[in-house]
Symmetry: C2
Subunit: 419 residues, 2 copies
Amino acid sequence: MSELIEYMQQLGQRAKSAARVIANADTGVKNNALNAIADEIETQQAVILAANTLDMKAGAKNGLDAALLDRLELNEERVAAMAEGLRQIVALPDPAGEISQINSRPSGIKVGQMRVPLGVIGIIYESRPNVTADAAALCLKSGNASILRGGSEAKHSNQAIALCISNGLKVAGLPAEIVQVIETTDRNAVGELIRMEGTVDVIIPRGGKGLIERITKEARVPVIKHLHGVCHVYLDDKAEKEMALSIALNAKTQRYGTCNTMETLLVAEAVAAEFLPELAALYEAKNVELRGCEKTCEVLPNCVKAVDADWDEEYLAPILSIRVVDDMEMAMDHIHDHSSGHTESIVTADYAKAMRFLREVDSSSVMVNASTRFADGFEYGLGGEIGISTNKLHARGPVGLVGLTTQKYIVLGDGHIRQ
Amino acid sequence: MSELIEYMQQLGQRAKSAARVIANADTGVKNNALNAIADEIETQQAVILAANTLDMKAGAKNGLDAALLDRLELNEERVAAMAEGLRQIVALPDPAGEISQINSRPSGIKVGQMRVPLGVIGIIYESRPNVTADAAALCLKSGNASILRGGSEAKHSNQAIALCISNGLKVAGLPAEIVQVIETTDRNAVGELIRMEGTVDVIIPRGGKGLIERITKEARVPVIKHLHGVCHVYLDDKAEKEMALSIALNAKTQRYGTCNTMETLLVAEAVAAEFLPELAALYEAKNVELRGCEKTCEVLPNCVKAVDADWDEEYLAPILSIRVVDDMEMAMDHIHDHSSGHTESIVTADYAKAMRFLREVDSSSVMVNASTRFADGFEYGLGGEIGISTNKLHARGPVGLVGLTTQKYIVLGDGHIRQ
C-alpha cells in the first residue's frame, strides 16, 4: 500500500509540474500536439488493435457480457474515429486566456476576469478505451494536465493509446507528463487519486451509478458528475397532439441506454384519454414496456401497474413509467420529488406555461417542445463533452472545454493603493 | 442526538420548500422584503441592543478577549449600518433569470443558459452579529433560502436580528422559512448541517482557519471557502521605486487583520539594496516587525532571520516576511510553493513581465501595480460579498450575488426530435 501511495504521489507531483507548462502553452502548440497525437494513433492502428485483441480475449475469458465487450472493442473504424475526434478538438476555440470586460472602478483600478485552466484533472472511467484519447484531448486543449484511470479490462488498449499520446506530446515539444495513464490495476489507486487534495483539482468520473456513488462518498477533491438521469417529459393539456406524440416517442426510443433518455412520461389528465392509446400503440410497435399509475391503467387496460420505485428508476432500457397528473403544477411537483436534475421537457403551445416551466424546473437542462435526447455537448454546440454534470456548482449540464476552466480576477493598477 | 437530527431535518425540509418560493419571487417582491427587514431593524434597534448587551455581559464573564468582544459588540451606529447595508442590496441588480445569448443549432433547436439560484445555502459564521442580516440579505436577493448558524456567544443578538428578518419577510408576503437561524447552540448542529446532501446546496463558512478546516474535512455538501490569505507582492527590478514603496507599505499596513493583507514581500535582487532600507524605515515607523531571508538580512542588519515556517504564515498582524529573489521567475516559483491562492501583485513597469505574471500566477486575484488590499467585493464592484473564495470551481475571488447563483441550459424547440 505504501508503495502505491508513493507511486500516486509521484504521479501527482509530475502532473502538477506539467500543469504549469500546459497552462501557459499557446493555442498553436496545443493544436500541434493534438494533431501529432492523431497522426500517431493512425500510424499505430495495428498496434492499438493488437492490444485491444488481448483485452477482448481476456474479457471473453473472464465472462464479460456482450454489452461490455461491445464497449471494449476497437476496430479500424473506431480507431479512425478516435483520431478524427482529436482533429475536431483542434478546430474548437481555446477558452483559456479570454479576458472578460474590464471595468474601471471609482478607486481608479481596472478589474476584469481571465479564464484559466483548472490545473490537474483526474478522469476515472470504465471500459471504453476511446475515452482515453477523448478525455486527454479535451483536458489538453483547455490547458489542463490529466491523470487517467481506465477500466482494468481495457488496460492493454489504454496503454497503447497512452503511448501514442505521449509520443504526440513529445513531437510537439511538450512534456509527456501532461497526460498520464495510471499503470497499476490496483483498485486502491482510485481511492488515492480522489483524495489528493492540493494536487488534483477536480475528479470527473464517467461510468455507472455504482462507481460514481463510491467516488462521491470517498472523494476529498471536488467531483463533477451526474449520478443518473431520470428525465421527464410533461405533455401539457395545451400540447399539440402530433408534436406531443412525436417528442414522447423520440425521447424514449431514439436510444435506450443514454442518460438523456426519458424514463417517466407525465400526461395532463385533460388529454390523457386522447393521447395515451395512440402513444401506447407507438411504444408497443417498438416493444417498450409501459408501467402506469392508476389513472394510466384505466386508459390503458393492458398497462403494468407502476410501483413507487418506478418513479425513481433509471431504466436505461425499453421500459417507461407513465403518470397522469392534474396539471403542470402537479407535474412540476412530481419532477421536484423524483427528478435527478438532468433534463426535463414540457410540450405545450401555451406561452405562460412554457415560461414558468423553463424558470421553475431546477434541472441542468430544461426544454420546451423538444426531445430530452438533445441534451448533450455536441447538440448544444460545445464541440465535445467530457460528461454531463448535475452538480449545481461550477459546470452544470454538458461540460465542454469551458467547463474545464475557471476564472480569476485580474486587477490593473498604476500604483493604486487603498485609502 | 436523534432529537437534534430531527430538528435539523425539519429545518432542512422547510428551507427546501421555501427555496422554491423565493427562487420564483419577482425582484420587486424580494426588494420589498429587504426594505421591510431594514425598517424592522431600525424600529427594533433598542431590542437588538438589549439582546446584544446580554451577549456582551456573558462574553465578558466567559473571558472573551478584547478583539472578540469588539466584533461581538453592536451600537446605534452598527445597527444603522446593518439597515443601510440591506438597502444597498436592494439597489443591486438581480442576477436570477438572466438568459445569456440563445444560439440556433443545426438541428433547429435554440440553446441558451438561464441564471438561477443555487437553492439552500448554509452559512456558518463566528461572533459578528451583523453577518446575520448581511448574509441573509445576499441569499434572499439572489433567490436562495438560507440556514444561518452564528457563534453561540452572539446568540441573543442573532435571535433578535432573526426576528426582524422573519417579520420583514411576512410584511412582504413571503414565508419566514426563507431565512432560518439555527436556535440550538449544540455544536453538533454544524456537523449535521454540512452533511445534509440533497437538502443544502452549498455551505459558506466565515471564520477562522480552525473552523474552516474542520468544515472542509467533514462536509459532504460543497463548500465555498478560503482557508487563509497568504498574499504576496513582488517588487520587480523594473518597478518604479516610489510606486513600489507605496504599494508595499499599503498592502501590509492599511489593515493588518484582513485576508487580503500582504504577508510576504518578494524583492528582485537588483533593486533590494536600493529599495529595502527605505522600506524598512517606513515599516519601522508603523512598528511592523520584519523577518527576512539571508540576503534581506545582509541589506537590513537589524532584521530578524526568517525560518521556513514564516513563508507559509498568515500573520494577520504587524509582521512581514521578506525574501530577495533572483528574478520574476523565482518570485513566481515562491508564490507557486507558498501562496494560499488568494491574491498576488507585481509592481513593474515592464509590459511583458506584467502580462506573464497576470497569466501565470494561479490565484483568485492577480494584480499589476496595485495593492492587494483592493481584493474585495466592494472594490471590485460586486456591491457586496458573502466571502472570498480560493476554490477553483464555481466562484473564485470575492463572491457576490452572481456567485450565489448557477446556470441551467434552456432549450427552445418547436417539436424538434433527435434524428
